[in-house]
């Protein structure tokens, strides 16, 4: 079969099993758009801004585990995509981003809409390519998907000059089933000696803690993690990115850890004697001050990326490998081991954890005359029976959602954890809803974040995506305001949002349903009403308490045992 470069791109995506391309057309990619027009197999979703395209592809990838695909034009198309690419990179999301480029003879001439996309994206991609010859196009596309989806996943950019997609130049096309790369062979199986050492240490623990992260979600190793944790009877905490990998409603789950983690999770970390880190990367928001981190613990770290091991915190037993394989092997070793967990020590440890739990660190004022954001999330949880896909933006609302929505399944909690990208939530929700047409999808956001990508309400209308937008509107950049209150003597420098739009009317002008909720007693009914509208996007603008802060909190430079707690009358 003889195809042009543009036709190859589209045919390849189809053969690779790609359902959706999220994109925005422009000069350098018009040949590809013409090839898209002439087929029905790969569906193109037209966004309103390239950042939205990449976030939507990202949301799709997070909700399915399959690579997201975005297509943007050269120049501003590529630069607008950068925030999305960096977001996916920080959270290790498999993604292929095709960027148009000016024709090869013009590269380097400062041509119209030319940027060095490979140069600009280099620090925030797993890898990137500039296709200089048509003959390289097919193997490059194959490599891009292979690299994006194997090992520690990540975004791969393929920069395609316009002349490579010339409809008049055709070459023979055959889909390559596999590709070999001598320079890239990710480790899958963990070292058996290390696994045995780790299990010996795990079974000798008196005060163990399992700390699991986004790697378990990315590696589809939730089942193995549950089997591992239940067989041991040990407490488990999840990172922000790991929520849902272990069911939040399970009694062994002690909540999220880190800066806004629970008291029991952080104290459990601090007093643990054996820490089992699984697919987590000891991020600064998790560890607090590394000098005070888990002072008594010997640390086991399982990760697919060798460079994550001993990067921030020195570990005692490193295991490099795919989490699913390593945990599967560990579960067998534990079963066959002559030792069992120390039941007496564990009983004592759990009773200590229970005293921390009794503090009820997430408590808040339930009698407030103003809507508390925590209450909205609790009502969201009720209205969706805990079974929705929740995307979020970045700030207080993100932390409230992480704390109060009890995720029982992986891939349900979709947020920008690493880069912390405001504007992520709504476009990500587009990708999630497209991936799971019949699922309930809600975007938890705030009036500041939502305005960073609000144009995607138009995309949601075009494709009839019935997302529920939960806008926690406190008229402040809440997290900025909280830090200014705590660390800048309440000097609220530029954290107040004046001249906000009427979100209800704004949603309506996009063709959606808008609701404004100002009284706590109306929250429950509004949720019910909104979620009953199965085929409509509903924008729920909750006017919340402006003074509410996220607690508990570990301030920067503090240890897990030095939490700020909420003081209630």
């Amino acid at each position: 079969m003889k195809l042009s470069g543009a036709e190859i791109v589209v045919q390849f995506l189809q053969d690779e099993g790609v359902e959706y391309i999220f994109g925005y057309p422009g000069g350098a990619v018009l040949h590809i758009y013409d090839a898209i027009f002439r087929q029905d197999n790969v569906r193109h979703i037209l966004v309103r801004h390239e950042q939205g395209a990449v976030h939507a592809a990202d949301g799709y990838a997070r909700a399915t585990g399959k690579p997201g695909v975005a297509l943007v034009t050269s120049g501003p198309g590529a630069t607008n995509a950068v925030t999305g690419i960096a977001t996916a990179f920080m959270d290790s999301i498999p993604m292929v981003v095709l960027t148009g480029q000016v024709a090869t003879p013009f590269i380097g001439s400062d041509a119209f809409q030319e940027v060095d996309a490979v140069g600009i994206t280099r620090p925030c991609v797993k890898h990137n390519f500039l296709v200089k010859n048509l003959d390289d196009l097919i193997p490059t596309l194959k490599k891009a998907f292979y690299i994006a989806t194997t090992g520690r996943p990540g975004p791969v950019v393929v920069d395609v000059p316009k002349d490579i997609t010339d409809p008049n130049i055709k070459i023979s096309y055959e889909y390559p089933e596999t590709i070999e790369m001598r320079s890239y062979q990710p480790t899958v199986k963990g070292h058996s000696g290390q696994i045995n050492r780790a299990v010996d240490l795990i079974l000798s623990a008196k005060r163990p803690m399992i700390y699991s992260g986004g790697g378990v979600v990315l590696g589809d190793a939730s089942d193995e993690l549950i089997a591992f944790t239940r067989a041991l009877g040990y407490p488990i905490t999840n990172t922000l990115m790991g929520l849902g990998a272990y069911p939040a409603t399970d009694p062994q789950f002690v909540g999220m850890l880190g800066m806004h983690g629970t008291y029991e999770a952080n104290m459990g970390m601090h007093e643990s004697d054996v820490l089992i880190a699984i697919g987590a990367r000891f991020d600064d928001r998790v560890t607090g001050d590394v000098k005070k981190f888990c002072p008594d613990a010997r640390i086991i770290h399982i990760d697919i990326d060798p460079s994550s091991i001993s990067k921030n915190v020195r570990v005692d037993v490193p295991i490099v490998g795919d989490i699913k394989h390593v945990l599967g092997d560990m579960n067998k070793v534990i079963k066959a081991h002559k030792n069992k967990p120390d039941a007496a020590a564990l009983k004592q440890w759990w009773s200590r954890i229970d005293t921390w739990r009794d503090k009820d660190c997430l408590r808040y004022d339930r009698n407030s005359a103003l809507i508390k954001p925590q209450y909205v999330i609790e009502q969201l949880y009720q209205a969706t029976s805990g079974d929705a896909y929740i995307t979020s933006d970045v700030g207080q609302h993100q932390m409230f959602a992480a704390q109060f929505y009890k995720f029982d399944k992986p891939r349900r909690w979709i947020n920008s954890g690493g880069l912390g990208t405001m504007g992520f939530g709504l476009p990500a929700a587009l990708g999630v809803q497209l991936a799971h047409k019949d699922a309930t999808v809600a975007c938890v956001t705030g009036e500041a974040s939502i305005q960073m990508c609000i144009q995607e309400l138009s995309t949601a209308m075009q494709y009839m995506l019935p997302i529920k937008v939960i806008n926690l509107n406190n008229r402040y950049m809440g997290m900025v305001r909280q830090w200014q209150e705590m660390f800048y003597e309440s000097r609220y420098s530029h954290s107040y949002l004046d001249a906000l739009p009427d979100f209800m009317k704004l949603a309506e002008s996009y063709g959606h349903v808008g609701m404004r909720i100002e009284n706590p007693k109306d929250v429950e009914a509004a949720m019910k009403e909104a979620f009953a509208m199965k085929d409509r996007l509903v924008f729920l603008d909750f006017i919340t308490d402006q003074t509410e802060n996220v607690y508990p909190m570990i301030a920067a430079g503090k240890g897990h045992h030095e939490m700020h707690e909420r003081e209630l009358a």
Binding site: V118, G119, R122, P123, K126, H127, L130, K132, I147, M181, R182, S183, Y184, D305, P306, S307, I309, S310, K311, R314
Partner: protein
């Protein structure tokens, strides 16, 4: 500690900037970096001289290994190795005394005079960085017009080798 990291990478456009970008993005030191294709034109061999604590060097080697284009990597300063650097130095040689003295010092250091004019010599010298430094010190500072150094390259002694 000073380390010499030797690596084989795909001879692709942009490969060098991936390495250089990694060092600047993560704040690692580069003392010198040399690169050229090998006997297999699809591969480049790079030698990076860097400094850092054991933890930093461990991260550097891990991060370099993580680059998709990197095929193999070794810290050759871990074991017996040879290290060489090339220097070309242009010096003023405009009097018989200066010409004699410069030639004598060059001979002592096993250097070669590559170019001669009425006013100047260009001298070629290879060796370890220390030897090149010593040669520069041995010359009269006022006579040095310019120096060009390649940065160090190195190779392990004995059977140890980097293969694709």
């Amino acid at each position: 500690m000073r380390h010499i990291i030797s690596l084989l990478m795909e001879n692709e456009a942009g490969a060098l900037s991936r390495v250089a970008g990694l060092f600047s993005a993560r704040g690692y030191n580069i003392e010198s970096l040399t690169v050229a294709p090998t006997e297999d034109p699809s591969l480049s061999r790079m030698t990076i001289v860097t400094r850092g604590s054991e933890e930093v060097i461990e991260q550097i080697t891990k991060q370099l290994n993580k680059l998709i284009d990197v095929v193999k990597l070794a810290d050759i300063s871990d074991g017996g190795h040879l290290e060489r650097e090339l220097m070309l130095i242009k010096v003023r040689a405009d009097s018989p005394e200066l010409r004699d003295e410069t030639k004598r010092v060059t001979d002592i250091f096993n250097g070669r005079v590559l170019d001669v004019t009425d006013e100047t010599y260009v001298i070629e010298l290879t060796g370890t960085g220390d030897k090149l430094d010593a040669f520069i010190k041995a010359l009269d500072e006022k006579c040095i017009i310019e120096t060009v150094r390649s940065g160090s390259t190195g190779i392990s002694r004995g059977e140890r080798a980097l293969h694709a």
